[in-house]
């Protein structure tokens, strides 16, 4: 079994070696994220040191107040020492608070910058990964990575990191202060470290296991949530609610149990530290008391020692909290780093030479394609489409037409062979140049939230209002758009629900028009249109396609009328190929199909 990329995402039973590999991967990612902020980190740490030092000085000053200021005042009526001490106390107090506020600000800014960078990376990586990956990795999982995993990491970074630094420093300062006042008490602290380490080791192992489970269940919960909200129409009309409810409740229960366990583990760890702390304080106190009675220790010093020992365990609890959120965050980081480790199967060339399509010649040489080895969707074929030609792909559903279209649009790379555009291998063309040259319009016309105009501008980001309107007029979308409440500025809402499927396809056509590519690929792009709209689009297409290369897949053979050439595909093979008129006259598959289609119109 593998843990590379997202493949180990649902497993909890990692071997020691796999655990290590995952941890190395996570830490490497964390390091890369933190590196740009190391200077700010340094300043923050200095402020934390300053603040902590000032805070640690507090008990010491109170002890001096009682041991030096009090006798001076009581015995000699001399208030100068106590005044000095009080002023010093005020000064340390204000600087402790000032530095605290400053480093809180800084550490939040740093952690938010790190999270922002991570969000950006995940988002960019999502866009970079091939469609092949997206077809098996659900959208819910990516959403889980971007929301609940990031949130978990955020908890660590915003609160935890300063807790860690401050806590560690507090420990060191307190220990130093304690030893300087009363070295023997330091020994008690040193002894206490042994059980602390032991309990922490136990906690580390137990919590890693539980947090990992909790991440997995939380992802499952999100996946179902997203899926059933997106498919709410079908859920309702087939009364799936009870089934979904039961399935969701079961996932909620799994998640609840996992959460309960993570909290429970910490619920043992935290009081265990308290017990160790109490016993240490008691030991220090017992030993100190006898020395006070002996006269070898001042009462004030004893107070300071006791306060310091107590304070020593305060930050240990902070550290425990930090460690808790660290465990939680590292299981989130494991998933994120795994996701970022996925390599796209369609890779953009490293230093592509600039490319501008000229004629739009497409040549496929000895190309074959298989999703999995030994199971070819498209067996080896060669094909040449001259620039400016309009080619119709015809064949039954599942014959491989869409796959061919996606190969030319470089949604996939061929398993074997080479496809070129104007003589350049597609895989050697930079993405921006390539997408400017080749556009694929699919049947599923997705609208993004925002206005209609924004959605059309997806085809050309800097299009003017006039260009947008012109494109809409050309494809016959202008009338319905102006009839909408806010015209071109109408918000399309989620999934374009108020916009009908046909209207969405019109908007999607507008995008293609405005993008104005050399090569246009239409995959069932008119399936939901009524006949007049389709006719309008066809006449627009005739103008548009006059001097560019086009590949059209349509079940309605009316579209074929505008094609110069027809390819009939069956079982992944090109079985007929020729000029439209010629094929129509013959008695091949296309002629038969076309006749059947004309009959269906009668």
């Amino acid at each position: 079994m593998s843990t590379t990329g997202v493949s180990g995402e649902d497993r909890q039973d990692f071997t020691t070696r796999e655990n290590k590999a995952i941890r190395v991967r996570s830490i490497a990612l964390l390091r890369v994220l933190v590196r740009p902020h190391r200077v700010r980190f340094g300043w923050t740490a200095i402020m934390i040191v300053a603040s902590t030092a000032a805070q640690v000085a507090g008990p010491l000053l109170i002890a001096w107040g009682i041991d030096i200021g009090l006798p001076a005042a009581v015995d000699d009526g001399n208030f100068a020492p106590i005044l000095t001490i009080v002023v010093a106390f005020l000064a340390t107090g204000i600087s402790a608070a000032g530095f605290l506020a400053a480093y809180t600000r800084w550490s939040i800014a740093i952690s938010q910058d790190i999270l922002g960078e991570l969000r950006r990376r995940i988002f960019a990586h999502t866009q970079r990964l091939s469609l092949e990956f997206h077809e098996r990795y659900t959208s819910g999982r990516i959403i889980a990575r971007q929301t609940s995993d990031i949130d978990t990491l955020g908890e660590l970074l915003s609160g935890g990191l300063s807790n860690l630094v401050a806590g560690l420093l507090f420990l060191v300062f307190t220990a130093v202060a304690l030893v300087s006042i009363d070295p023997p008490s330091g020994v008690a602290l040193a002894v206490a470290l042994i059980p602390i380490v032991a309990v922490t080791w136990w906690f580390s192992n137990a919590s890693r296991r539980e947090f990992r489970a909790s991440r997995i269940y939380s992802t499952r919960l999100i996946i179902q949530f997203v899926e059933s909200m997106a498919g709410i129409r079908a859920v309702k009309s087939f009364r799936r609610e009870p089934v979904d409810r039961a399935a969701y409740a079961a996932k909620v229960e799994d998640y609840r149990e996992a959460t309960r366990r993570t909290i429970h583990v910490f619920g043992i760890y935290d009081p265990a530290l308290k017990v160790i702390g109490t016993l240490t304080v008691a030991a220090v106190l017992l030993f100190g008391s006898f020395r006070v009675i002996d006269g070898t220790l001042e009462v004030g010093a004893l107070l300071a020692v006791v306060l310091y020992t107590r304070r020593f365990f305060g930050p240990i609890e902070d550290l425990a909290m930090f460690y808790n959120s660290f465990q939680s965050a590292s299981s989130a980081l494991e998933k994120i780093s795994g996701f970022l480790e996925e390599r796209p199967s369609v890779v953009e060339p490293a230093n592509p030479a600039p490319f501008e399509a000229s004629r739009g010649d497409i040549v496929a040489t000895d190309v074959s394609f298989a999703y999995s080895a030994g199971n070819p969707v498209l067996p080896k074929f060669s094909l040449s489409i001259a620039g400016g030609q309009t080619v119709a792909l015809v064949g039954a559903t599942g014959a491989g037409k869409s796959t061919l279209a996606k190969l030319i649009a470089r949604f996939y790379d061929p398993t074997d062979g080479v496809i070129t555009l104007d003589g350049r291998d597609l895989s050697s063309i930079g993405d921006v140049d390539f997408r400017r040259a080749v556009t694929l319009v699919t049947q599923e016309a997705y609208l993004f939230s925002g206005s209609i105009a924004d959605n059309i501008r997806l085809g050309k980001t800097d299009a003017t209002d006039d260009e947008v309107t012109a494109a809409a007029r050309a494809v016959g979308a202008h009338d319905f758009i102006t009839a909408l409440p806010d015209g071109y500025d109408t918000d399309v809402n989620k999934r374009g629900s108020r916009i009908s499927a046909g209207q969405r396809q019109l908007v999607s056509f507008c995008r293609a028009f405005i993008a104005n590519p050399r090569v246009l690929i239409l995959d069932e792009a008119t399936a939901s249109l009524d006949i007049p709209s389709e006719r309008l689009i066809q006449s627009a297409l005739q103008k548009l396609l006059k001097d560019r290369t086009a590949i059209i897949i349509a079940h309605r053979l009316s579209t074929v009328a505008i094609a110069d050439r027809v390819l009939v595909i069956d079982g992944g093979r090109i079985v007929e190929d020729g000029p439209t008129a010629e094929l129509l006259k013959g008695s091949g598959r296309f002629a038969t199909l076309h006749r059947a289609w004309r009959d269906s119109l009668a």
Partner: protein, 608 residues
């Protein structure tokens, strides 16, 4: 006693929020209360330690009786151990109740969202919904089982601690209190600022989640136009706005933290000065002074924690507001209190002057459906033809009450659909949508989705229904899938082509064996040959089933006995295909593609 704990009392909003959570708590509320009581006990034990210390300092350490050191230290150790025990017990007490309330709210939100009408879902992106149903609920749980418990425990501890300070020295205690007053000012200033920020940030992260969701669902469009970078920069913009809100929140917390740290220190400094003076006057013993500061040190923890707890409370509060935003949406489409149980199931469907207007549409926006009257006889197949955007899809969604009519009514076998229980109604009416939604489940479960009656029925029976439906919809390809009809499909399973998905959605509607079948352009993604085969098979089903079919192509229209022409929100004409061809120019324009001559494009200048 002044209201010293006003600072740390949960804000009024939190109490209101808590009251709204109560129904979800049930008996688990006792667990939470137990947690608060236990938390109070552990704080009280912590406060007992300075008292024991005072006894130690003013007793054995003065040389009264050295052997008394043992019991005094033993007592202190015991107090500490009990404190640890009670911390453990507090966690145990709230652990299961906290997570159970969390689960109940999660399930309740999910149920509620499933019940809310489609019109609600049209407006709410699932990213926003998810951030409420997941992130905000998690926040609520943390607050409930930690924040609220600690807040109550700590507030009482602070009161108790100050009371103890009074026993050591009333003057010092009053001084301490007076010096602490500014904390209330800064606390309430913080509350005002933080509440707004926290809500804004939560809403913003919901929008960010929506961006993520869209970028994944629309990835093919982004890829094909090479717009990955643009969507990235838009996303980054939203995320940066969220970051800025978080930083502003952090700054507000930092400012409060400053005062919460500095004011008690200031108070202590004042107490030290006055304490020493009092001691010099002989009004205070060293032990009392010692104990005063030890108590104040114990108090420092709870006071400092107020900042964090207050922030957590405010965040939970705005999270709760967001959660109840959803609960407060009433479900307008519900089963009637006393549903009519229809006798016959002939399957007649009548639209009587039906109007529909999208929710929130202004007065000047015309109704999408503006007085549709249409009668579909039992067993009849009625095709609906209309231009793109004429309201066909809305029309098909009305009978099963995915939307409710805004005026007029729809009768199923003579009964207003709103007088039937939703379950009965949706058992009788099955739909196939144009964009076929398949769930991450087996082929079998996807196709037999509407057949709740087959759950637990002999396998042979459900197999027969499945096989028949698959055969009519020409979806036998599923037998060639890796695990046949038990192959997992949908987002988490095997991905299928558009045509394959559409045929499964059709099979699903057929398998439901409804009285009325509603098909929204069910064959749009099929090739001509497959379409012809499906239609031939479908004809047999439709001969006995009432059907409403949205059609774009003549071939689909041919399935129907009669055709209704939808134009401008009304039924412009009803008749057979040939009647309408003969009488209606609009119909000819819409359905006839035989005219080979190009139609004039009125708007020139489009294609560049």
């Amino acid at each position: 006693m002044p209201t010293v704990d006003a600072e740390s009392t949960p804000p009024a909003g939190a109490i209101r929020g808590l009251a709204r959570i109560l129904p979800f708590a049930g008996r688990d509320v006792y667990g939470l209360i137990a947690g608060m009581v236990i938390s109070l006990i552990s704080s009280a034990l912590a406060l007992g330690i300075p008292i024991a210390l005072e006894a130690l300092v003013d007793g054995p350490l003065r040389g009264d009786d050295p052997t008394l050191v043992w019991p005094a230290v033993g007592l202190i150790a015991l107090l500490g151990l009990f404190e640890a025990l009670f911390i453990y017990l507090r966690r145990v007490a709230v652990l299961t109740p906290g997570t159970r309330i969390d689960s109940r709210i999660r399930n309740a939100i999910y149920d509620h969202l499933q019940n809310l009408p489609v019109a609600f879902h049209d407006k709410w992106q699932s990213g926003q919904l998810l951030s409420r149903a997941h992130t905000d609920v998690g926040l609520m749980r943390r607050w409930l089982s930690y924040g609220a418990v600690m807040l109550v425990g700590n507030s009482i501890a602070i009161v108790l601690g100050i009371a103890i300070l009074f026993t050591w020295s009333p003057i010092l205690a009053i001084l301490f209190l007076i010096c602490s007053i500014p904390m209330f000012v800064f606390g309430s200033r913080f509350r005002n600022r933080f509440t707004g920020l926290s809500r804004a940030a939560q809403d913003q992260w919901g929008d960010v989640a929506t961006s993520v969701e869209e970028s994944v669902h629309g990835i093919r469009v982004l890829r094909s136009f090479g717009r990955g970078n643009d969507s990235l920069s838009r996303f980054a913009e939203r995320a940066t706005h969220g970051r800025n809100l978080e930083v502003a929140k952090g700054n507000a917390r930092a400012t409060l933290g400053f005062w919460l740290e500095w004011i008690p220190d200031f108070a202590l400094a004042a107490c030290l000065l006055v304490g020493v003076w009092l001691a010099s006057e002989g009004d205070l013993t060293t032990g009392q002074l010692f104990a005063f500061f030890a108590t104040a040190a114990v108090l420092a923890g709870p006071i400092e924690s107020v900042g964090y707890l207050l922030a957590l409370t405010l965040e939970a509060q705005s999270g709760l507001d967001r959660i109840f935003d959803i609960f407060d949406r009433t479900n307008t489409i519900t089963s009637p209190a006393a549903p009519i149980v229809p006798k016959g199931s002939a399957g007649s469907l009548v639209f009587e002057d039906v109007h529909y207007r999208h929710e929130g549409g202004d007065g000047d926006v015309r109704d999408v459906l503006n007085g549709v009257s249409l009668e579909i006889l039992p067993g009849e197949t009625m095709a609906v033809v209309g231009a793109t955007g004429s309201g066909k899809t809305v029309l098909t969604a009305l009978p099963a009450r995915l939307y409710d009519v805004t005026a007029g009514r729809i009768l199923l076998d003579g009964v207003d659909v709103r007088d039937l229980s939703l379950d009965t109604l949706r058992t009788r009416i099955a739909m196939a949508f144009e964009d076929a939604t398949l769930f991450s489940d087996t082929v079998r479960n996807n196709v037999l989705l509407g057949r709740h009656d087959l759950v637990g029925a002999p396998a042979s029976e459900s197999d027969a229904v499945l096989a028949q439906a698959l055969s009519i919809a020409e979806a036998e390809f599923v037998y060639d899938l890796p695990d046949g009809v038990d192959t997992i499909i949908g987002e988490q399973g095997l991905s299928l082509s558009g045509g394959q998905r559409q045929r499964l959605a059709l099979a699903r509607a057929i398998a439901a064996a409804p009285a009325v079948l509603v098909l929204d352009d069910p064959l749009s993604a099929l090739d001509v040959e497959t379409e012809a085969r499906v239609e031939a098979a479908l004809r047999k089903v439709l001969s006995t089933t009432t059907a409403l079919v949205v059609a774009h192509r003549p071939s689909t229209v041919m399935l129907a006995d009669r055709v209704a022409l939808l134009d401008n929100g009304r039924i412009a004409a009803v008749g057979t295909h040939s009647e309408l061809l003969a009488t209606s120019a609009t119909y000819r324009h819409l359905i006839s593609s035989l005219s080979d001559e190009p139609i004039d494009v009125d708007d020139e200048g489009g294609a560049s």
